[in-house]
């Protein structure tokens, strides 16, 4: 299959990109897939008519508030809610004693009570819940809940948490689990290498900072509960609420409302506010709303995991990589949450897209009394990518090599064996992304410009940094039991189409992709397809909306349903066109037969309805089973891989220590862009989130409490920080399958699409850190690179003693 590339570098300068018409193949789309067009949900978003959770109204609505632990670690002796119950306007108060089912919200391990029984393990732990007729009353009542608690010593650092005698956050010690990769002999490789590069990287917490805070409304009804809310994973919420209330899943319905950003922050976490609201709704018999304000949202919700990564990379003098030894410590916080699954991805991703024959990786997850880690775009990969890409640049520097060239030398190619022992089936498009990023950035010329600028010795220094990744598309083998995904499609008798999926639109463009896939397969126009809000009552459990799996998984399910519907419509079409089924072509809202005969799709639908055809179809998709051995970390962890290369041009002001990204170049292997403008929008947004992580986003945590839970002190990028982002898309457009050459099958999405949500962010922090390191001639290994960090480095390297204007040195 010929790869085709689409450059949108032109877009950055306000022009439309050059469109390249793809080579046609049996699998190539003929309709809307891959073509320009608009988001299906844009109109309602620009005029504000889209209804988010806080915009919903219910009669007799109550408002929830929470009394949390004031202490990061404490023995709770007594909880007295008498005063709170007597506040006028308070309708229900709940403590752990009021939970009818299990007092448990741990989404993987049962280590997290919804409400504290005897032990508080971080400042966000809930002691009591209040429902009142207005929010202020609920808050006032929460303040008068009396808690007798004895402070316990806390532990706030992963290394200290592992030391003997450290306070135990849970009985059984602070080490939760371990993951590894053991392949070849890493120790021997390190001993025999010409060069060993070793650094310790510190990847900090990151706040999601979606603009819409967490929010849910629980509506009770005769022994069942309906939850409306802002979320990624309605089926997680359904399970959590059912377990808490002791209800069968059939009595808990979850409806996702328009969701104002998530980025992983609404994967596991919404189960917590949902359980709070559900318990209060159960107790009061009235609908209960629980919408966080910004401070609560930042203080209580999960964060990108803080990781400490010790990375040793061994190479021959000619640059050939020989081995890697990597130790990763993951701060889980007070509860495990999704930490094990994040760690599993970090563990697998820690070597990067390189041929490294000898690998030893150990990843440990550790309890502390810190805020707890959860899902965040990239799921552990951005942290380890910071390390492996820092190492590649450090090695290039040590050997006097060009960073792109060193990567090319060691790149994984088709049929190469990845760190986890899997022989990679083609296409393996890593080299293509390297080449495309090199072209897009004008790498050699740009490097010469940067060097000339720095030799001139002005107030600023420039730096170029590369970041690359190999993203395992969809769920890791460890989570493959959740990988099945469903869809429900209905053709109405007027030819309009309703589509429901089990995964969610949260801003990323899933609804548009679903509409496009349905339209492409059914042969209708995109605006004939209405994508419904995700509702657990409509579609079977489709797993979580995570791991960049919505386009591949929901896309396949929709295509599957649409193919069934097509077959169900064909008899009506053949009747109207008076031809055989194989002569009918459905496309663009028409059914065409031989000899220019055509009828509108709507007429076909009407005729099919008259003929009592079944005009609904339930679609399902589950990728092939993957074999993976957790004990060695070897096997096939993912169904397919998406490769990316990003290049950052950064400028550092030596007088202020401010680093800025001036230009950013992205080359992504996306399989096929079903909605190219949406893909580019994801890349631009993900890249800028990654830049924020690298440069400005510092969560200040003291004794487990976040001190900057607001947007004045926690700095996400503004429009003044966001640089021009130039993009190249690499599309092989192959749906894949077992090539019968001893390689595992590459199961991709419909039309060969791979997810882009996470690969857009994963290499960005590394690229920026490498660029700033290049500018300063130092290796910066701890994020974020705020001015205090950079000024310290400038002082250490005496760069501040260099006069700002000097004649060009040789």
């Amino acid at each position: 299959m010929t790869a085709r590339k689409r450059s949108s570098g032109a877009r950055a300068r306000g022009r439309r990109p050059r469109r390249v018409v793809p080579a046609r193949s049996a699998l190539a789309p003929t309709g809307v897939v891959g073509r320009p067009g608009l988001r299906v949900d844009a109109l309602a978003k620009v005029d504000g008519s889209a209804r988010y959770i806080d915009d919903l109204r219910f009669p007799d609505l109550l408002y929830a508030a929470v009394r949390t632990s004031d202490l990061p670690h404490a023995e709770v002796l007594r909880i007295d809610v008498t005063d709170a119950q007597q506040v006028p306007g308070v309708v229900a108060v709940a403590t752990f004693r009021d939970v009818p089912g299990q007092n448990q919200v741990g989404c993987v391990r049962p280590d997290q009570p919804l409400l504290v029984e005897t032990r508080a393990r971080w400042v966000g732990d809930r002691i009591a819940l209040i429902a009142a007729t207005d929010p202020a009353t609920a808050k006032a009542a929460a303040r008068v809940v009396k808690v007798d608690a004895v402070p316990l010593p806390g532990v706030f650092d992963v290394e200290q948490a592992l030391a003997t005698g450290a306070p135990a956050v849970h009985t059984g010690g602070n080490l939760i689990e371990e993951f590894c990769i053991e392949r070849g002999d890493a120790e021997l490789a390190l001993r025999q290498a010409d060069v060993v590069v070793e650094h310790r990287y510190l990847a900090p917490w990151q706040e999601h900072a979606y603009l819409e805070p967490q929010g849910v409304i629980a509506v009770p009804e005769r022994g069942s509960m309906t939850i409306y809310g802002s979320m990624q994973c309605p089926f997680y919420v359904q399970s959590a609420v059912a377990r808490l209330l002791g209800l069968p899943l059939s009595r808990v319905r979850v409806v996702q409302t328009v969701t104002g950003g998530a980025f992983g922050g609404k994967e596991d976490y919404p189960s917590e506010p949902a359980c709070c609201a559900a318990l209060l709704a159960h107790k009061s018999g009235r609908p209960v709303k629980f919408v966080y304000n910004r401070e609560q949202d930042i203080q209580w919700s999960t964060k990108r995991h803080r990781m400490v990564i010790q990375h040793r990379l061994a190479a021959r003098r000619d640059g050939t990589l020989l081995g890697a030894e990597i130790e990763i410590l993951v701060d889980a916080g007070a509860y495990c949450g999704l930490t094990g699954i994040v760690a599993e991805r970090a563990n697998t991703s820690s070597v990067g897209p390189y041929l490294v024959p000898n690998v030893r990786v150990r990843t440990r997850t550790i309890y502390t009394n810190n805020p707890f880690g959860g899902a965040f775009r990239g799921f552990g990969a951005p942290q380890v990518t910071l390390a492996h890409e820092g190492q590649l640049d450090a090695l290039a520097e040590r050997l006097g090599r060009d960073p792109l060239d060193l990567r090319r030398q060691n790149a994984l190619r088709p049929y190469a064996v990845a760190a986890w022992g899997e022989k990679l089936a083609p296409p393996v498009e890593y080299l293509e992304t390297l080449a495309a990023a090199e072209r897009l950035s004008g790498w050699s010329a740009l490097r010469r410009q940067v060097e000339a600028h720095n030799r001139a010795g002005g107030r600023t220094r420039l730096g170029l940094g590369v970041g690359c990744c190999m993203y395992g598309s969809c769920l890791h083998a460890g989570g493959q039991h959740l990988e099945g995904s469903g869809a429900l499609l209905q053709v109405h008798r007027d030819g309009s189409v309703s589509a429901a999926i089990g995964l969610t639109e949260m801003g990323q463009g899933a609804a548009t992709v679903v509409a496009r896939v349905a339209a492409e397969v059914l042969g209708v126009a995109v605006d004939q397809v209405e994508v419904l809000p995700t509702d657990t009552a409509l579609v079977p459990d489709s797993g979580p909306t995570v791991a960049s799996r919505t386009t591949p998984m929901a896309g396949h399910a929709v295509a599957n349903a649409a193919r069934q519907l097509r077959a169900q419509l064909l008899p009506a079409a053949t009747g109207l066109l008076r031809c055989r089924a194989n002569q009918v072509e459905l496309s663009g809202g028409w059914a065409r037969g031989p000899g220019r005969k055509k009828v509108a799709f709507a007429d076909v639908a009407a005729a099919a309805f008259q003929a009592k055809a079944h005009l609904a179809a339930s679609g399902w998709y589950a990728p092939p089973r993957k074999q993976f051995d957790r004990a060695t970390g070897l096997g096939q962890p993912y169904s397919a891989y998406a490769y990316a290369t990003q290049i950052a041009l950064c400028e550092v002001d030596l007088a202020t220590g401010v680093a800025r990204v001036k230009k950013f170049f992205c080359a992504h292997d996306v399989g096929r862009a079903i909605f190219p403008d949406g893909v580019c929008g994801q890349i631009e947004g993900g890249a800028v989130q990654g830049m924020g992580y690298a440069l400005t986003e510092r969560l200040v945590v003291r004794d487990g409490r976040i001190l900057n839970a607001n947007f004045t002190d926690y700095l996400i990028p503004t429009i003044e920080d966001a640089p021009e982002v130039a993009i190249a898309l690499i599309e092989s457009g192959d749906e894949g399958g077992d090539k019968g050459r001893g390689t595992a099958s590459q199961a991709k999405g419909p039309f060969g699409a791979k997810g882009i949500g996470e690969p857009s962010l994963i290499p960005a922090p590394a690229a920026v850190a490498n660029a700033v390191s290049h500018a300063l001639g130092a290796r910066l290994t701890e994020l974020p690179l705020l001015p205090d960090v950079i000024m310290a480095e400038i002082a250490r390297r005496n760069l501040d003693n260099v006069p700002f204007v000097e004649s060009a040195a040789t």
Binding site: L38, K45, V46, R294, E684, T718, E724
Partner: protein, 166 residues
């Protein structure tokens, strides 16, 4: 979020919202944001509630302001425009441009973004890129990377210029 004193000492605030003369029933200390949302203007979104993000931006007598930082009672006699406004030339052009250029993803910041840009384009029909960035620097977006927002504002400005010089 509504204040608990909401039922005490309410007083009428007469103002114009999207061209319609309206009387809001506002409690002392109530934020303009809450009074407007309570009156059904749910296109105004609350994200930070502290004037840091711009999501709750409205035009108050033509200027973009954070409605979370204003008391409802201070808006007496004001002309308020929200993203839902019909028949507002600049807001209409911006809405179209945000759709065309895909300057929206999750959409939560979008109404505020449109209004901040409307303030800019009302005062300057041909702002350069730096001026657009400066004008929108108080409006946070976490999804788009701002690229398409910038292009949307440029597109709307061009469209509005063409309208006046046919």
């Amino acid at each position: 979020m509504a204040a608990s004193e909401a039922d005490l000492g309410r007083s009428p605030v007469a103002l114009t919202i999207n061209g319609r003369r309206t009387v809001l029933d506002a409690a002392p200390g109530e934020r303009l944001l809450d009074a407007l949302r309570r009156a059904g203007w749910l296109d105004i979104k609350e994200s930070c509630g502290e004037g840091e993000c711009g999501s709750c931006t409205v035009l108050l007598d033509g200027r973009a302001v954070c409605s979370c930082l204003l008391l409802a009672q201070s808006a007496e006699g004001a002309d308020v425009v929200t993203a839902a406004a019909t028949g507002h030339r600049v807001v209409g052009a911006l809405r179209r441009a945000f759709v065309e250029e895909m300057g929206t993803q999750c959409g939560f910041c979008t109404p505020g973004m449109v209004l901040a840009a409307a303030d800019l384009l009302t005062g300057d029909g041909d702002p350069d890129e730096a001026k657009i960035r400066r004008a929108l620097a108080g409006n946070l977006c976490r999804c788009t990377g701002y690229h398409r927002i910038l292009r949307a504002v440029q597109r709307a400005a061009a469209e509005l210029r063409e309208e006046v010089q046919p």
